[in-house]
């Protein structure tokens, strides 16, 4: 009995690992094929257009382009597994090093965004579910719909116009004012953490004034999704019989909603939040472009414009892999949190 349960757990784990492995392999295959059908000749970018045929041929062979496609794929796969994503010809650094440099800024912004999204979205969803089909529900629904419908880069521009240029409440594009740029040392790459560690409050306040606007915009973007999902999860719970029982017992409505219904809704909500965290990484491509935020999204977008394909594909691969792992992690967390699936 005990053994068969253990066996089942092991099998499920192996199944899950296999799924992840296959998905990641597919991801690598996708970027490989995108890289292969690119009209940019990788040899010409190295030797230049005026190189003699002999040099061209030598580089062609050195790059392994004479080998069959499947062999090239395995070479590429081996490189990816070793963390070699090629070299960016714009920064002349290995792509993986670049990504390491740009990732913390994206991580910081997206994390602050998701925290704001949870703080705003979960209560909004609960209020909407409790007041179903009444005005708070409609209001929250409309606010969410606006979030789904507005181009985030445009909203960012408008927010910059109003809150930075006109009202002067927040800092502008970039992580810091130029005058503060060199007054702290980069340790973690997270600008709020680094400036706080520098001990100079003025620098920290400046960093905060710069990150707050893009973070609120990302938070709003994820709030639209989180509040909608919270609402439907809560409605599901509020219609359950145990809630009726709790009400008959004479518990106060606030207790029924927060202690009973929300607790049960919280478990699937974890998956929702993980998914919207992944969505924020995507939304960051456009937001970072508008706010000149030195993150991964900005790196990918600017590499695209300069035709730096190794950088683009490397960035896509990393963000895709994070996406996959977020999905897996949320699934695993769901299993741990839900006592029924133990």
């Amino acid at each position: 009995m005990g053994q068969s349960r253990l066996w089942r757990a092991v099998r499920r784990l192996a199944d899950g690992a296999l799924t992840v492995a296959i998905t990641l392999l597919g991801l690598v295959a996708l970027t490989f094929f995108i890289g292969r059908i690119v009209p940019i000749d990788p040899v010409l970018t190295i030797v230049g257009e005026k190189a003699p045929q002999a040099v061209y041929d030598r580089v062609f062979i050195e790059l392994g382009l004479d080998k069959p496609l499947y062999e090239q794929f395995f070479v590429y796969l081996g490189e990816v597994i070793r963390g070699d994503l090629g070299t960016s010809f714009v920064t002349t650094r290995p792509v993986i090093v670049d990504i390491g440099r740009f990732f913390p800024a994206t991580f910081e912004l997206a994390t602050l965004g998701i925290v704001l999204g949870i703080i705003l979205g979960v209560p909004a969803g609960v209020v909407a579910a409790v007041n179903r089909e009444k005005w708070p529900d409609h209001l929250i629904r409309v606010i969410g719909l606006i979030g789904y419908s507005v181009p985030i880069f445009w909203l960012s521009l408008m927010a910059l116009l109003v809150f930075y240029a006109r009202l002067e409440w927040v800092g502008g594009p970039g992580q810091l004012d130029i005058s503060y740029q060199y007054s702290y040392t980069r340790v973690t790459g997270l600008v709020l953490v680094d400036t706080a560690m520098s001990g100079d409050f003025a620098v920290f306040a400046n960093a905060l004034s710069h990150i707050i606007l893009p973070a609120i915009l990302l938070g709003y973007y994820s709030m639209a999704y989180i509040s909608r999902m919270t609402r439907s999860l809560m409605l599901e719970q509020l219609n359950a019989e145990y809630v009726l029982t709790a009400r008959i017992k004479g518990l106060r409505e606030a207790v029924v909603v927060t202690r009973h219904a929300l607790r049960n809704a919280a478990i699937p909500l974890v998956t929702v939040i993980a998914l919207s965290y992944g969505m924020l990484l995507e939304g960051s491509v456009l937001i970072e472009t508008v706010f000149a935020w030195p993150g991964l999204g900005n790196y990918i977008a600017s590499s695209l414009l300069s035709g730096d394909m190794e950088a683009v594909l490397g960035g896509t691969l990393v963000v895709g892999a994070i996406f996959v792992f977020l999905n897996v992690a949320s699934d695993a967390l769901y299993r741990v949190l839900d006592p029924r699936s133990r």
Partner: protein, 300 residues
């Protein structure tokens, strides 16, 4: 098939009648949904604007006017003029055509691909299912905008290439949807009956399974339209979508970005157009889902 017996003609007529009655009751229920009607009106407005753009426009959308550069909104230029003195109102109207073109191109390519993959996977099951769904999952695992960006980088910038790139990212949800529906239909009695009557798998899939997937696919399409417009605008904004001088809304915002602090209308107006159109599609999608979703249909 050409000679129908009187019974057959009668059956056809009553079928048509029943469909008409169902449509009428649908229209009536839809009419009661206020937000849905707003969405529907916005959608109609978009189609009208696109169809009648040359007649509704007050200026030539491509003709620069050096004396009228960056004019604020007013009597001459209703929504202001851009950095070359072109009328923004007229450009937005013509841009509606591009928006509609991209959306339709993506929809008519991605939905059939998704249906094909999903129905094949669901109908045959086994290894076909596993392989097809694994591929679908890989596409779903990558953020849409990023994948579209990578594809556009390969295909080169341009409006058709942007639409193709979005198609390549837009089909997987349809495949999942169609597979789920097919799995439910596959083992039903009427499919078994058709199979016993000697119908080929292809005929069963195209004539008897695909039509049943359509209502959920249409709802999904309406929701997707807003997403497609937003991604297309994002590509245009980054500079990989429609190229100047085309009045694509995202690209117009990108030009306006340079003047955002002083001549805000250059970027604000096309963004407002995107926002209103997407809101319309989302409201319409919400209403359609409420009406067509079989789980909610019982609700009074």
């Amino acid at each position: 098939m050409a000679d129908l017996t009187p019974e057959q003609t009668g059956a056809r007529a009553s079928l048509a009648e029943a469909r008409w009655a169902e449509f009428k009751s649908f229209a009536k229920r839809f009419g009661r949904n206020r937000l849905g009607m707003i969405g529907f009106s916005i959608t109609v407005l978009l189609v009208v604007a696109a169809a009648l753009a040359p007649w509704l426009a007050t200026h030539d959308p491509y003709l620069p006017s050096l004396t009228a550069r960056l004019t604020p909104p007013g009597a001459e230029y209703w929504l202001g003029s851009d950095e070359l003195g072109r009328d923004i109102y007229s450009r937005i109207l013509h841009g509606a055509r591009l928006t509609l073109f991209i959306v339709l191109l993506v929809i008519v390519t991605s939905a059939p691909i998704g249906l094909l993959v999903g129905i094949t996977a669901g109908y045959f099951g086994g290894w076909t299912d596993r392989i097809f769904m694994r591929i679908t999952d890989v596409f779903l695992a990558i953020p849409k905008l990023l994948l579209a960006l990578a594809f556009v980088a390969v295909l080169g910038p341009g409006i058709v290439n942007a639409a193709l790139a979005i198609t390549l990212t837009a089909w997987p949800p349809y495949a999942r949807l169609a597979r789920a529906e097919t799995l439910m239909i596959r083992n039903s009695d009427y499919v078994a009956a058709i199979r016993l009557a000697g119908a080929s798998p292809l005929r069963i899939m195209v004539r008897h399974v695909a039509p049943l997937c359509l209502s959920s696919v249409i709802v999904r399409m309406t929701f997707d339209m807003a997403g497609i417009i937003l991604i297309a605008a994002g590509l245009g904004f980054i500079g990989l979508g429609a190229q100047p001088p085309l009045p694509e809304w995202g690209a117009m915002i990108a030009t306006g970005r340079k003047f955002i602090f002083d001549q805000w209308w250059v970027a604000a107006m096309p963004g407002l157009a995107i926002f209103i159109v997407c809101l319309g599609f989302n409201l319409l999608g919400d209403a359609l889902r409420d009406l067509l979703d079989p789980h909610l249909r019982q609700r009074p």
